[in-house]
């Protein structure tokens, strides 16, 4: 056994010695992302193609599922063998890594590309830590979307997009009466939290939203806002079908595509599912920001650049940051991914109706970041727990629930 083990070990050592020798000189980078499905992968491919065109060598390490990718990434860091780039959200999720000195800053690239001018200030702040830019943003997803099936609306006799929550619930009743599942609900914690947030934004406004999530403000106004949100959120329980629990968002979207259900709360990535099924925005399905909402919740992706201790990889990281922020690439990427470009100075003409709406809100800075950007991963988890517990617990005790909500930040 011992000799066999030895053989294996030597084999591994040799493999390790010779492998990197194959690709020298060229800036080489290993990208770890969770963008594995059709549209996502196509979007990533845009960056890859351009990166390779500019002389880089791209090694793909895609791992589906954010949990799995995070586990793999963190373990690579622990092993002292991080990939050259990792896809991840902007904001607090990366803060611990930066704080531990594990990431390379890309200040010079940002300065040369005048990122401070091109990006909305809030975004720029969220990719900077202690005054230095560390992350290269790829695109943003609007998350306050309400998609609806035009066919279902027609059958239920709904002619206008609802402007208020009252109108909205009236519409849902009509759908129900027409024998249609009113809400195609994706009963997974992360989806439910997104719905909670969109309602919250509609109830407390942009400032109120930021007060709660950034300042952890526990004033009467905030508590009242949470209660109103929970009220609306709780009402929705009456409009979902039996199979909602644990349902994937794309299965929910499929219910809209087949007109089995009326509406779905989801991020703008759901458009990809409609597109694949041959449905067109504005014609077969509608997209609107949820009622009474002054703006839009967004989540923004970026690339993280861990320190690899390899000069070639450092060079590649800078090249990659340039590529990602290239205006043309930003648009191309967003087209494929169904997202909104980060830069304000891009060509909007190619974007679809929904994306244009989103970009308008974005450029007007009528947006608030998703909890994944504003909260630590622990808090994000607790928020998911809170929302899920409220939703599936069936409780209507809003006062004590609001109390629990603020316990997340303790």
């Amino acid at each position: 056994m011992k000799s066999m083990m030895k053989l294996l070990l030597t084999g591994a050592v040799f493999a390790g010695m010779f492998a990197p020798a194959l690709a020298d000189d060229k800036p080489t980078i290993e990208i770890m992302s969770s963008w594995t499905s059709g549209g996502e992968a196509a979007a990533l491919d845009i960056i890859k193609t351009e990166f390779e065109k500019r002389g880089g060598v791209w090694k793909d390490s895609s791992i589906a599922g954010f949990g799995a990718a995070d586990a793999a990434f963190q373990n690579r860091i622990v092993a002292g063998d991080p990939p050259g780039a990792k896809q991840g959200v902007i904001g607090l999720a990366a803060a611990d890594f930066v704080g531990q000195g594990l990431f390379n800053p890309i200040d010079d690239v940002a300065a040369a590309g005048k990122w401070a001018d091109a990006l909305p200030k809030s975004i720029y702040d969220l990719i900077s830590y202690d005054g230095k830019v560390y992350l290269a943003p790829t695109g943003a997803h609007g998350e306050s979307w309400l998609f609806y099936s035009k066919e279902a609306f027609a059958r239920a006799g709904i002619v206008e997009e609802p402007k208020t929550w009252d109108e909205f619930f009236a519409g849902l009743d009509k759908l129900k009466a027409a024998g249609i599942v009113p809400v195609a609900w994706g009963g997974q914690p992360w989806q439910q939290t997104k719905v909670f947030n969109m309602i919250l934004l509609s109830q407390v406004g942009i400032d109120g939203f930021l007060k709660i999530y950034v300042d952890k403000d526990k004033s009467e106004a905030s508590i009242e806002g949470i209660k109103k949100t929970l009220d609306i959120f709780g009402k929705l329980r009456g409009y979902v079908d039996d199979g909602a629990a644990g349902r994937n968002w794309n299965d929910a979207t499929a219910m809209l595509i087949t007109a089995k259900a009326g509406v779905q709360f989801m991020g703008d990535w759901a458009k990809g599912e409609f597109t694949v099924a041959g449905k067109e925005a504005g014609k077969d399905y509608g997209c609107m920001i949820v009622p009474e909402s002054p703006g839009m919740v967004y989540i923004a992706d970026s690339l993280w650049f861990p320190k690899t201790g390899d000069a070639g990889a450092d060079k590649a990281q800078k090249l990659l940051a340039e590529v990602v922020m290239d205006p043309a690439i930003q648009v191309e990427f967003s087209l494929k991914k169904g997202s909104v470009p980060m830069r304000a100075d891009v060509d909007k003409s190619k974007l679809d109706v929904c994306a244009q709406k989103g970009l308008e809100l974005m450029t007007a800075d009528n947006v608030v970041p998703d909890q994944a950007i504003l909260l630590t991963p622990q808090q994000v988890g607790l928020l998911d727990d809170f929302v899920d517990e409220y939703w599936s617990g069936g409780s209507n005790d809003m006062a004590s629930a609001a109390e629990n909500f603020f316990a997340i930040f303790e």
Partner: protein, 294 residues
Amino acid sequence: MARLHPNGPRPTQITAGRIGLYAFLFIAALFFLLPLYTMVVTSLKTMSEIRLGQIFSLPQTLDFSAWATAWSGACMGTTCVGIRTGFWNSVAITVPSVALSVFVGAVNGYALSLWRPRWANVLFGLLMAGGLIPYQIFLYPMVRAMANVSLYNSLAGIILVHVIFGLPLVTLLFRNYFVSVPEELCKAARVDGAGFWRIFFEIMLPIAVPMVVVVSMLQFTGIWNDFLLGLVFAGRDNLPMTVQLNNIVNTTMGERNYNVNMAATILTAIVPLAIYFLSGRWFVRGIAAGAVKG
């Protein structure tokens, strides 16, 4: 009705009990086969047909394209090569891992039960306790340790990890097997002048063949189906099929092609399935030979 005069062989009868017995077996078979059936028919449908939501209905037309896509066309990130490449990685990981862990387990079981060196019971207790620890908690320190000995992200590394995590189970099974081997056999061999290893290779290992079959099949299934360890320890050049399957099946915001998912799932499971279908009888025989006892 005139009663028959009993004479000659008793006529065989179909009794209610017999009918009930077969009914039970057929219902059980249905319960066990239904999921597999569902997977197969789903993999043969088109997505539009799947969206109709009749998961048990037969496909309107047989569409094998999902299988082709799963095997060689499905995309993971920017590469679209299906789970084909992962297949050989899985083989390269599983075969040596199984061989090595069966070997180590057999040696352990043999040494612990027939030689009983000092502290043997303590070691066995530690192993059993180790078998109860959720292995997620090992990831972090193990990654560190493997990186320190330059085994992280290597084939040798992932094999070693599988052998380590397999130790409690294989040792338990082999020990229980060897405990039932008469001690005199070992004594006779020692009088004949054979040492520890000679007795192991020439006498005990041949006796333990049924057990080797059982443990190999259990380990093969476990290692082939592993996802987390492969993901964390194997390194990007050695990712097993399950990681690629996950890349196809598990997507948070992307669209899902259930037919491709099902085809990929069956493809991933096909090797252990084939082993059970083909050598199930050896498994049963191995267990009957006393492989698993109290």
